[in-house]
Structure formats: structure tokens, C-alpha cells
Symmetry: D2
């Protein structure tokens, strides 16, 4: 099984969860999707995150997914598994399954139903980390969890054994740079950026990589962008960044609800013939009209022949 | 087993979940607490709500609690069971356990990790209701779920078979009156108010009752207040309402975090010798200093002799 | 000129500002509107509040309005003048004009562009109050100002000479009751509620009255509701409260923007032939189709013959 | 008088407003500050923005500042003047003063007391632009105004005669890149970034420059950073960006309130002997202890000898 590099660098796509029904994994689709993503040269794979809509899945299905994906990927790239849960016990159980299956690391947003204070979150992490069999990334996702991990708290958490990085999906780059600043003495603590629209600049400014949802659709683009940014090739970064923005604007804006991003990614991957686009409730796959728009845009973007 | 009245009226306390440890129910404490609450003359019992901190508990513990409480209560009062979950399958499973154990109804806030639109929530309810073995209350809890059930959507949901009421914890009484207005033609649809500080006025203005957290501590007070309001005895309402405010201000304001309400209720019930005050993570029971304050205030309030 | 009672009680309508154009007062319309409102038996008149859209008006126009309304009203009822401004100097200047013209009191929300802390607000009030020639009400309006006056801070402010009450437009009745509780030892401190949908219950529970926007349209209804609540006549309160809800739902919900309330009130008053419905930018009067709806609803409500 | 380049590029510092008292400009301090900033080689000067705390100043003082600064700067760099106001008439009046005094452009956030919809804002801009004697920048500042200019609306506004750019202070770089994407066909529309912590990356990714508050303290640093980014010198950008982060973390974090940034900048400039640090209410200059911290940090940062 692939080990977690220190620090983890590069593109680690948050895989969507292919479904045939509410509680039924699209096994064939998952297999094809894993190969599609790995074929793009990515540096890791993140399952059961927000893009994977993990909180909407039963524990049973989450465990099935972990087992299958870990087995299929083998030691090709390290696998990160989302263990975000409102219950401590729930997070630990998924973590154990992940370790048993050969995953390399875990990703955790804090319990998100009742809001907790920073000190409570820190104590939570101090209690949880020793119970976990794998290293863990923190996951800053305020739009879903109603709370931002404050930089001063993250700095303390970075001293807890087993906490090795943070994925930031706030889209607030001042916050990201504040994290980098307080963590200057921890060069092995990996700082990954969530929104793919920020991959180029965060890596140019010293970030370690990105968790790019678009890599479900077109993985090599984000890998190329990461490489260009790592090589400080600003012109190439701009060219590739423009393509990233084109995908964002074409594919994630079709639906009329906040779930447009998720529906768009799933629909696009389905249009590419990779897997089913069934969505766990309360969300729904696009109808025929919206699917046609996505399909045409994929052709126009040169992603679908 | 007690049936659900149509509409449900009165005081339906949201029971805290007595714990000995992270995943261990305080069985003796739970038994004492149930009798303490029922001894106050309440009209129902609501387990696994926000005050019960249900999302922080393992499914196993939730099922144990359902089984034990239903068995103990028998047909004395109807029991409502919270089935709020981020996963459809998770909600259905708890609902089945509740029905098998003899509960009378269910309470559901929508999936709360990724935000959904009103139309998506309505469709969720349309899909979920037929899968449930018991009638269901909606639970409006925007501070935890980031979303308010809009009155127009609630009006449509009230036409779905099996949806029989709504508990509103927004504290926004304009919203509550808007619900009453759109539901004038549905007199059997029960509208309960969450914050106990609003029990008096909501019942005076035609609401059906309240889900009063303070009834874990002093159940008869809220029952008396409900009765006074139902009888339109304004002077008595004011007198009892002042006591309710005194408890709120004395007991829920001791800690320095947003979890003060929960910690305060648990600590007070523990000071009364009823059950343990262990709190599921990421929250923590009060320390000795804070416990002393709670204890003294209970004496001063005349609740503890 | 009418003095401010201690405490101020009753219905104090927040008058809309009748305009002919961006910077031109509808003088005739203002005169008719003042008489229309006073004819309903109200206990005071509040000009240049949120319903008056004061921040959108030039200082010149505000001064003209103050002068004209004070002169017209004379000593019939006390007049409150909104002095909310982002600039200390601006607030003081309007206050002086109000005093010179014969107003009885002032109403102030804190500076609302850059957010200030509670301690900063308190110091602001301590500095401002001595500069003001009239007693002042605080104005809690978090949806516009991004900040709630915390009850503990209000309690301290209530000890400042010249601060005599608070108008709460939060719609959060738990907050309102918390204010009442911390101010129990200040029975002369007037607590008025903003949303007219809460007039009945707040007065039944010991509040002093309301600042009802609907009183621009149908002043006697709110006065009757206040009187019924003051007399603890719960049945009458419910009957009148239902009418208040009918007006809210019929008149404030026609437009598709957040400005629907303001546009609805202005349009309704205009349909009653009282004044022009021009709205200060960035808002706009209703078009013909929306005006027709308002007109028909006024007839159906029995307000227009 | 300096004309506005098309598009405006570079560093355009938002000048603090030196005060001796609530309504008294620090004339000498203003003169020294203007020379201090211009001495750093900046590309423009922005007065009466958020950093200038314009909404807290009387119109009289704003006009005095405009006149003095324009006269002093002459044709050395173009001057932008903030005309943000809750009143249309107020904005137009300041704009006229700016034009008469020789300013090059205007900066406007929308009326921010009552929230308006995007369509209302667009119409506001369509009505306002023809009344203005100078070209105008839009100012996206959601933390103060409660509203984000949506990219689709900005695209429409960019077609209005006289609207020539936008300053974005959201700190959300996904939003900034969305603006760049919808405005690809408008290469002369200037997109400036507010937070100085984002200057490097926004210029590397095609942005036109920044409105850096820290340039009140150390203007040449931001000019060098802009130049390095414009020249695509990634190593130099990183080195200078680290210094920018050091200043942010050292100077803007001393106070305990949200006003820390403003107090910190004013205190630092005062420690450098440039101008008084009086702050318009409801904010307050730092006390001796906090001033000592700022002073020591300025020495440690190498800014003060």
C-alpha cells in the first residue's frame, strides 16, 4: 500500500461516489472512474469527501467503497479517506475500516451539527488523534460546517501526533496565507487548497497542492497546472488556469441550486461514459435538457470527442 | 403504546441523553430522568433531538436508548424520536427501530451537511415519508442546519401523508405566525415552539405547545405555564414566564461557549441527583467551579432543596 | 410640544417618507399621511426610521421633513426622530434639528458600515448621549446593521443619562425577553417591538408597545390590538392579530425582492389616495401589475372601500 | 491633473484619514502622509475608502480632504475618491467635489443600509453613472455592505458608460477569477484586489493591481511586489509576499476587536512620526501598551530605525 509522503504534494482528486441507487454502489462505474483519474497522473486519491457526498451515504456503502477502491488502487497512489462525522465513534469506525483496507490517511472536518468553539475543537482533535490508526488531514469547510479552523488553533493542532496537514476549502486566500505563515516552522505539514480555481496561485505561493473536483472529469489538466505552478512557469499557469476557469463556468453552473457543482461533475463524468450519475438524496441528477447542455459543453471544451 | 393525538398539544420535553461515557448509556440515570420528567405531567417525550445531542451518538447507542425509553414509558405518554440524519438510509433505519419499540412519532430536520434548496427538501420529504412507519414532525432548526423551512414549502409538506406537525426552534415569532397563517386550513397540523422562553406567548396566540429543554430540570413549571396560556390566564402566564426566564438566565449562561445551554441542563439535572453529566464530544461537562455555580443557583431558584 | 412619557407606551408608527422625486418631499402627501396616522389614535409618531428609508435621503430633505412634521403635529403626540448615521457628527446635527423643531425624542442604531464590538458601541453611546438635546431610544436592527445590541450592554447603556428605551426589530422574542429580564429594575425603560406581527404577544408579556409599519395603512387596527393586549383580552388579541397577519401576508409579499415590505407599504398608502409612492433609490415603486394586486387586496381586506 | 490610465494598473493605496479630532483634519499629518505614500512610487492614491473610514466622517471634512489632497498631489498620480453613501444625492455631491478638485476617478459601493437585489443595484448604477462627472470603479466589500456584486451583474455594469473597473475586497479569489472570466472581452476594465495579502497572486494571474492598506506604512514594499508579479518573477514575489504577511500578522492583530486592522495601520503610521492616530468614532486609537507593541514590531520588521 502506498505510504503518505511528507508533506503530501500534488493533485489529490476528491472522487465522486458512483451510485446505481440510494444505497447501491455503481461498482463497474467506480472501477472505470478510478482508472480514469489515476490515468491522469494524479498524486493521490481522496474518497468520501464533500464531492463524494459522504455524509449522505450509509456506513455500509462507505465501507464497501473504501474496500473496493483500496484494493483496486493498490500501491499506485496513497488513498485518503474522509471520516467526517457528527459522532466520534462514527469517525473512529470508518478510520479503522480505512486502515484495514490499506488507505494511507484520513481527512476530518469537525462535528458540524451543534457548533463548537475553537478550544472544544482542539480538545476534540487531541482526543481523537490517538484513537486513529492513520495520519489525518484537517478539513476546513466553513460553508458546510459553519466554522473556520482559526490559524492559531491549527498551529496547535499541528503539534498533535498524527495530524499531518490541512485541506482548505474556504476559497479565502488571506486565510490560506495566514495558515502558511503560522506554519512556517512546520515545513512537513501539508497545506492543500480545495477549490481548483486556486490551484495555480496557491502552489506558486508555496502551497503543496490541490484537491480538485474537476479531476473527476479531466485529471491531467490539473496535474499539468500543478506541475507548471511547481516549476514557476507563470505563462503556462495562466494558460492552464484559463482552461480550469472554463470548465468551472461551463460545467458547475447549469443547475439552479447550490448543488450545481455536484450535479455538474456527476453529469459530466456520466456523459463521458464512465459511470452512472445517480445522486444521493436530497440531490438529484440533471434532467435531459441539462444533460444535453453539459454534453455539448464537454465537446466544446475538447474534453469529449 | 400511546398514540399521537391530532393535533399533538402541550409540553413535550426534549430529553437529554444521560451518558456514562462516549458510547455508554447511563441506564440508571435514564430511568430516573424519565420518571422525573413524566412526574411533571408532560404531554409527551421527545428523545434524540438537539438537546439529546443525537447526531453525536452512535447508532448503536441511539437504538439502545429508543428501546429502553419506549419500554419504560409504555402507554403513559406518546414518544417522539428524532431521526435527523445526513443520510436517507440512516433516518429510515432509526425510524424503524422507533416503530418497533413502540414510539408514537418521528422528528426530522433535513440533511444538513451540504445545503439543499427548498424544492430539494420538499422532494426529499415526499420520498422519505412513504418509507417511514410512523407520523413525522418537521424540525425547523436553522442555527444547526443553515436553512429555514419556508412557510410556502411547509404548507406543501403538510399535504404529504404522514407529516403531522412542525417544531420551530428559530426563535423568530414572525416566522412562527407566518406558519400559523399559511396553515389555517390545517387545524390538525401541530405547531410546537422550541425555545421555552416562547411557550407562553405561542400558546396564547394559538400555538399547540412547546418542546421545553428546561423540563429536564423542572417539568411541572412548563406544564403549568402551558396550562395557564391554554386557559388564557395572562397574569399567571406572566408570573410563570418570569420563572422560566430566571431559569434560562441562571442555568444556560454559565459556560463561555455556545454549548452553555446543553452543559447547563446536563449539569443541573446531575446536581439534582438524577443522572450523570458526561457529554458526548466535542462538548464537555462543567468543571467543579461551574458546577458549584449551577448548584447554588438551583437552590436560589427553589428547584433544589 | 408633546413630552415623552416615561415609559413611552403604545403604538408609535414608523412613518414612510412621501416623495415626489429623489430629493423632493411630497408635501401635500406628507400632510395627509400625518393626519391619517394620527386619526387612528396612535401614541406617538416616528419619522426617519428604516420604514422612512432615512439613510437614502439627503440631510436637506430629512431636515425639511422634521420641520414640517413637527410643526403640523404640534403637541398632539410626541415625535421620535431617527438619527442613525455612520457619522457621529451627522447624528448630532439631525438631533439638533429635531430638538429645535419640537420633537420629543431620538432613535439611534449604531454606525453600521464597519462593524464595531459591543464595548466600542457602549463607549460610542457614552460619548454621544451628552451631545444630544433630547432623550434617545436605541434601535436594535441586526438585519441592516449586522450587529445585535447584547442584553448585558443594553443594561449598561440604560444607566446612561438620556437613554430611555429600545426598539427591537430582530423578530427574536427570546432576545426581547432577555432584555426585559435584565431591565426588570428599570421599569421606566421603554421596550418597543418592531415587527407588528409581534405587537400582541410582546404587550401581553409586559412589553410597552410597538413600532408598526402597517399603521401607515390602517393605524386604528394596531391601536386596537395594543389596547386589547394591554387589557389582557386574549380572544380579542387573537382576532386582531389574525387581521395583522392578513395585512402582512397580503401587502408585504407582492414584490420579488427584499424591499417588498417597503414597496408594499408605500404602494398601499398611495392606493388609498394619501400620498405618492415614489421610492428613494435603489428601490422602486411597484409597476401597474403589482399595484393592481395591492389595490385588490386592500379592498378584500376591507381597508379600501 | 493626472488622467486615469486604461486600465488602471499598479498599487493604489487606500489612504487613512489623519485626524486631530472628531471633525478636525490633521492637515500637517495629511501632507506628510501623502508625500510618504507617493515617495514609495505608487501608481495612484485612493482617499475616502474603508481604510479612510469615510462613512464616519462629516461631508464637510470629506470635502476638505478632497480639496487639500488633490491640490497637493497635482498631476503626479491619479486620485480616486470614495463616494460610497447610503444616499444617491450624497454620492453625487461628493463626486462633484472630487471632479472640481481635480480627482481622476470615483469608487462606489452600493447603498448598504437596507439590502438591495442585484437587479436593483444594476439599475442604481445605470441611474447614477450619467450623473457623475468622472469615471467610476465599483467596490465589492461584502463584509461591510452585506452583498456581493455577482459576476453576471458586474458584466452588465461594465457596459455602462463611465464604469471602468472594480476593486474586490472579498478575499475570495474564486470570485475574483470568476470576474476575470466574465470580463475577458473587456481588457480595459481594471480589476484591483483589496487585501494586500493577495496582491502577488492576483497580478501573477492577470489582475491589474491592488489597493494595499499597508502602503500607508511601507509603500515601496507593495510597489516592489507588484513589479515582481508583473514581471512574473515568482521567487521575488514569494520573498516580498512573506514580508507582506509579516506586516499583516504583526501590525493588524494587536487590538482585540474587528477594528484591529484600522487601529493598527493608524498607530503604525503615527509611530513613524507621520501623522496623528486619532480615530473617528466608534473606534479608538490604541493605548500606550498596544502602541508600544506596534512600535517594537515596526523596529523588528526593519520599517522603523
Amino acid at each position: 500500500m502506498a505510504k503518505l509522503p511528507t508533506p503530501l504534494r500534488g493533485v489529490v482528486p476528491p472522487m465522486i461516489t458512483p451510485l446505481l441507487d440510494r444505497d447501491k454502489l455503481d461498482v463497474k462505474g467506480t472501477e472505470k472512474l478510478v482508472e480514469h483519474i489515476l490515468g491522469g497522473g494524479v498524486h493521490g486519491l481522496f474518497i468520501l469527501g464533500t464531492t463524494g457526498n459522504a455524509p449522505a451515504l450509509s456506513y455500509r456503502l462507505r465501507e464497501e467503497l473504501i474496500e473496493r477502491v483500496c484494493k483496486q488502487v493498490g500501491d499506485r497512489v496513497p488513498i485518503l479517506v474522509g471520516i467526517t462525522d457528527t459522532s466520534f465513534v462514527g469517525s473512529v469506525n470508518i478510520a479503522k475500516k480505512a486502515a484495514d483496507s490499506g488507505a494511507a490517511g484520513l481527512v476530518l472536518a469537525h462535528p458540524y451539527y451543534l457548533s463548537a468553539a475553537q478550544a472544544e475543537i482542539l480538545e476534540y482533535l487531541e482526543n481523537l488523534a490517538p484513537e486513529l490508526p492513520l495520519p489525518m488531514f484537517l478539513y476546513n469547510m466553513p460553508s458546510c460546517t459553519k466554522l473556520t479552523f482559526e490559524p492559531a488553533m491549527v498551529r496547535k493542532a499541528a503539534d498533535i501526533d498524527g495530524i499531518v496537514g490541512l485541506k482548505d476549502s474556504s476559497a479565502n486566500m488571506v486565510y490560506f496565507h495566514n495558515l502558511q505563515t503560522v506554519l512556517r516552522d512546520k515545513p512537513d505539514f501539508s497545506l492543500l487548497v480545495g477549490p481548483e480555481e486556486l490551484l495555480g496561485e496557491s502552489v506558486l505561493l508555496g502551497g503543496h497542492g490541490g484537491v480538485c473536483g474537476g479531476a473527476n472529469i479531466y485529471p491531467q489538466l490539473y496535474v499539468e497546472l500543478y506541475n507548471a505552478a511547481y516549476a514557476k512557469d507563470v505563462d503556462k499557469v495562466n494558460k492552464l488556469h484559463d482552461k480550469v476557469m472554463d470548465i468551472s463556468n461551463a460545467i458547475y453552473s447549469v443547475g439552479k441550486y447550490g448543488s450545481s457543482y455536484l450535479s455538474g461533475v456527476k453529469c459530466a463524468v456520466s456523459c463521458l461514459g464512465i459511470c452512472n450519475d445517480f445522486m444521493a438524496e436530497p440531490f438529484h441528477r440533471f434532467g435531459a435538457a441539462q444533460r444535453k447542455i453539459i454534453d455539448e459543453r464537454l465537446v466544446k471544451l475538447g474534453i469529449k470527442k
